[in-house]
Amino acid sequence: MAHRVDNEYDYLFKIVLIGDSGVGKSNILSRFTRNEFCLESKSTIGVEFATRTLQIEGKTIKAQIWDTAGQERYRAITSAYYRGAVGALLVYDITKKQTFENIQRWLRELRDHADSNIVIMMVGNKSDLNHLRSVPEEDGQALAEKEGLSFLETSALEALNVEKAFQTILADIHQIISKKALAAQEAAGSGPPGQGTTINVADSSANTKKGCCSS
């Protein structure tokens, strides 16, 4: 696919939204990119897509988010979109235990198809439905720690923590990429880059071709 050269951002990060059907992935996306929530949303068929540009640590980052269908049958299609993704938001529904139990399956899915350096954040959505909760927040926290993932509970409906979830994962990705760039530069013999210098991260596997930056 040919991307038009866009100088309005420093980084383009591709993020995938994954998790079981009905956990609220599409609404997390619409909340983050358009500040909208739709009670009458339809199931996602294949993949959908939206972007938002935001500032992280002084850099302009364009998040290109791929929202995937939750049903297992679509994995063959959706897993193709894991390629080149530098981050994954793995979503479950705090009111549906099964969707939490399936987190392991999704992690396996990412291990099999995504880049090994992908940054994963686990998200327990629908925190507004606390009275129907079947997954305690501590359980989410514990699993995230065990798997080495960052974790947040969100409510796309109440716009709670959605922004924070994306901010966190994007900042994590940015940090990793900056470090890598730094290491690469040091290895190449030059000192650490000062403010405003061009960072060449083309060799970083975590952001192949889409993460190229210019300043």
Binding site: A2, H3, D6, G22, S43, I45, G46, T51, R73, I77
Partner: protein, 386 residues
Amino acid sequence: MSGGGGGGSSNNTEWRFNQTLRNVQRMIIGRSFPGKGEGPSPGNSIDNTSAKKSNCPSTSSTNSLLDAQGIVFGARATDSARIAKFTEELSRPAVILDKLRELAWSGAPPYMRPNIWRLLLGKRLEYVEYVSQYYDIPDSDRVDEEIDMLRQIAVDCPRTAPDVTFFQNPQIQKSLECILYTWFIRHPASGYVQGINDLVTPFLVVFLSEHLEGNIDTWSMDHLSPQDISNIEADCYWCLSKFLDGMQDHYTFAQPGIQRLVFRLKELVRRIDCNQIEEQGLEFLQFSFRWFNCLLIREVPFHFATWLWDTYLAEGDYLPEFLLYIAASFLLTWSAKLLKLDFQEMVMFLQHLPTRTWGHHELEMVLSRAYMWHTMFKSSPSHLTS
């Protein structure tokens, strides 16, 4: 009498034997029966019916009584007992075929006859049997895969045409779930795939329209009998099955039928459009997958769905081929607009097309252009090969 598939075989044998026995009894006794004796034995109910048939002068009066009250009063006790049995059998959410056969063998009340005949001969009963066999069972009788699928379907039913309030009706939700789950069980090669739920809606609307008047926004399920609902479900189930028969590989693993259509769409558009859109970096899989998976029903306002289905059903076995041309025609409706967009804008535009305000004219244009291209290209297949 049509077997209608399924059923416990040992039960069947026993039942057949009883029927033969009754046949013989019937021949011996002749057709005039005393018309009394309400015992539980089936032999007695045969007597009752025959008596009813010869003694009851006006079926229409019975009918009007039934219409007015829904239950039989005033008719001869023997008749009412018998009709009550029919009513009981027919009002079950899942009619038990063997019981119905047993009752109907010796004659059915006239006003119930149309339904009973359909049940005995038609596919409706087969569906009813599937439902009792697969759907109306405890979860403990299901394997894990079936439980997962039932859960998946339950998640998707409320999200089926959510902009049409009527579909949120609890009975419709249940019917939808039942149709889809049964379809999944009976089509193991593909199983239920998200989006198939959307494909049931035109059938539901059309078969419900036989019973409900006015606009769909004003429809209510209150006056539909369990039998009506069962019939509608059965009709939807079979129509969906027949409809998807020719597209089975659209919904099997990795959905090769759809992948093929996506590929061919790209080829077709390349020829019609001379590569313009493709050069913008348009990735066909990213938008046309849903088009093919849901047969464009998601891309146009819901009131166009039945019209689309008219065309699809008329195309019959040629539908997958024709879909290609509809998709090309649909896409190129926006060719001028698309040329102004970059890759990301294009994907987002195509995923939320501005068809909300579409009238008949717009859809007619898409369909007739598709027809024109189809006619043009099919007679010269080399147009489509690279």
